[in-house]
Symmetry: none
């Protein structure tokens, strides 16, 4: 095992000299009293869409689950490992968080993979293939629409996938019970990496620009495939 990456150590020194030294008391307080984050954020692993950056959040604010394509699987009380479901359970049952945001983003490699008819297994385990299977039925329906451009289909599936995850959240009894009592709110958001625009989901499931309070389609530069 080689030694720790110098770039990360340099960044850590910036943190210690900057943010940490400015917020020492906040960190200490959070350590003593434990975390009480106001929001559970289900986001993508994508390096261009870090929730703390996009929402300018400090320590203690966001409890963050990050997986490929910010997906929430349906409730499956079986004997298997469910990392995302475990995080939901901890956030809602232990930390008693009462706002959940599922945030997708443009140019999502996972969504792009779901739309790729010739996707080859990347490993004998083909973990990505199974994972994006969560949106495969939706992907196939969208893929069949040859009137939309590839870019439009990708953006469409990115948003369908957010609604899909939100629908799956409702399959968890401890979430449904709270939402039905109006004690838990579930939100959707979509981040445009290029323009930096945040689109949030409204009551109808449409994505709008909060600064515009109006619904519109994203105008994007031509999609370059994720490397």
């Amino acid at each position: 095992m080689t030694y720790f990456p110098a770039k990360l150590l340099a960044g850590y020194r910036n943190f210690m000299g900057g943010r940490y030294s400015d917020e020492r008391e906040r960190y200490r307080g959070l350590a003593e009293t434990g975390q009480k984050p106001h929001t559970l954020l289900v986001a993508c692993c994508d390096s261009r869409a870090a929730p703390e950056t996009i929402f300018d959040c400090g320590p203690g604010e966001l409890f963050v689950v990050r997986n490929i394509a910010n997906m929430v699987p349906p409730y499956e009380p079986d004997s298997q490992l469910h990392g995302t479901s475990a995080a939901l359970e901890y956030a809602i049952q232990v930390l008693q968080i009462r706002d959940i945001v599922v945030m997708g983003h443009g140019r999502c490699g996972g969504i792009q993979a779901a739309l790729d008819p010739e996707l080859e297994p990347l490993s004998p385990g083909d973990f990505i293939g199974k994972w994006i299977g969560l949106v495969k039925p939706a992907a196939e329906q969208i893929q069949s629409n040859d009137l939309m451009t590839a870019t439009e289909r990708q953006t469409a599936l990115e948003r369908v996938s957010i609604r899909n995850s939100i629908g799956n959240l409702a399959t968890f009894p401890f979430i449904r019970a709270l939402t039905e009592k109006g004690e838990l709110a579930v939100h959707g958001a979509w981040f445009d990496i290029s323009s930096g625009e945040l689109w949030v989901m409204n009551e109808k499931g449409d994505f709008i620009r909060p600064d515009m309070e109006t619904e519109q389609a994203p105008a994007e530069p031509a999609l370059t495939p994720a490397p």
Copy 2:
């Protein structure tokens, strides 16, 4: 579904007026060319330990998986969903990231749960119970040490769990093949929320403070009679 949390919208406006406007070109370039993150970071969902904050990283730098207690399950090429394994596969096979960091932290609620002998299922699905089952055998061995304090046992397990995840990384054929060729490096780190200290794992698996470049290692001559 209620409308989007005002606190997040306010934070987003700070981002747009600040970081995004400073880094507009960087975001646009990342959108055009796709992401090329230098590091895959497996971190905890904990709101007090955001990797981008601790390593002062900007957009495009860190591909981040976040789950409860920053755990990597062993390679299981079955038909199940494996969100963390899918993210590993995408990071290594698609994005060709060649540095992996598993970062744990102090006061980890998931590790605390693993050490709790009377943990009750939080839901019929008991997702947390199954998830932390990944470190349960280690937790039981550490729990049996009644000479260490609860705090000492927790810190010990937090570090054992990082080594455990690193050991599980090696069970993935596509990771092992690269590490054996010296083309992929795997690192461990442990963050102290209170002091802000970062401890990194060295070749022996011990955690040291990089600013100290030292560890608690016994360095006495071998305890045998002088010839």
Copy 3:
């Protein structure tokens, strides 16, 4: 017997020309009135952990017992010689010291010996083997933890041993009587030779950095479902 080591004579001349000439009156006063040290310090013989140096103490401040691994044996009112117990008795009963500090340190050779399963007797008397027998049961329990590294086990035993000595102090009736009346305080400390850091024991027996006023304590809400 050869003549006195020149290095020590040179050091003594520095003392006479420096500290003594600066503190002549203090030494004379201490000679006239006798010593009234404020603290009894039980420390290790290790050349790297001199209490007067670490606590920057002058003449008359610390009454110091130094033995291998700063150990306090349990109260044994038999006919044997007990050098450490005699020093405790003198410090508490004659000098009426009311603060006791047991100070351990990193890389302790005696603790390392206790963790060495193949330790050979160093002499027919095997004095070290018997002496470290005081922590052998603890050493065996810690040794059985194969998840921790050798370094982690050593640090753990160094701290367990301090708590063990503090526990043994309470077996001395003249110490227990005073502590129960709140007239005598017993403290623990652990010194990191390399970093120079001092860790002090808190009420729970955990070692914390006084400059940090924090420890690795789990502070999550109890892991039980929200009512």
Copy 4:
């Protein structure tokens, strides 16, 4: 257990800001390579006679045993605990130290106790009574000399006791073997707390002032009993 003494924490901060920061590399080196002290010093617990202070020694120089009246018991390879013998064994057999200094001092409370015919047991265990039993025969002989003053008798016994300890060192086979081969040197020293004078033992067992290279009796102010 009350919190750590403020006076010691203040002293520790002086150490960190002063000596440690001046000698950081030395401490780190000593931690990495282990200690190689040049001298084993058997000294008294007395707060006025710290060896590192009197010989102006830094970290890594002196391996120090401190007990009441700097005594070395005779070699007793039985099943009992022998803290001082364990330290000798470690210093000579493990660290391979080849200079031993037994340092006594004026106004030694332990020696004074040995000369006190009405000394009452200080505890049911009477640890001091047994410990100073090591010089009791010598004390009785000196006590019977009513021509010497109390001060003269005390100084005389302090020096007899040093020679006594040096004689006991020779009862340890691993020490005698080395001294007979001329590979190990044993020295005696006596420190006058009031004047700061160091008297060292010469080949004949007499104590002389190294700066005078002549033998003379100490001129002391009237002895005040140790409190």
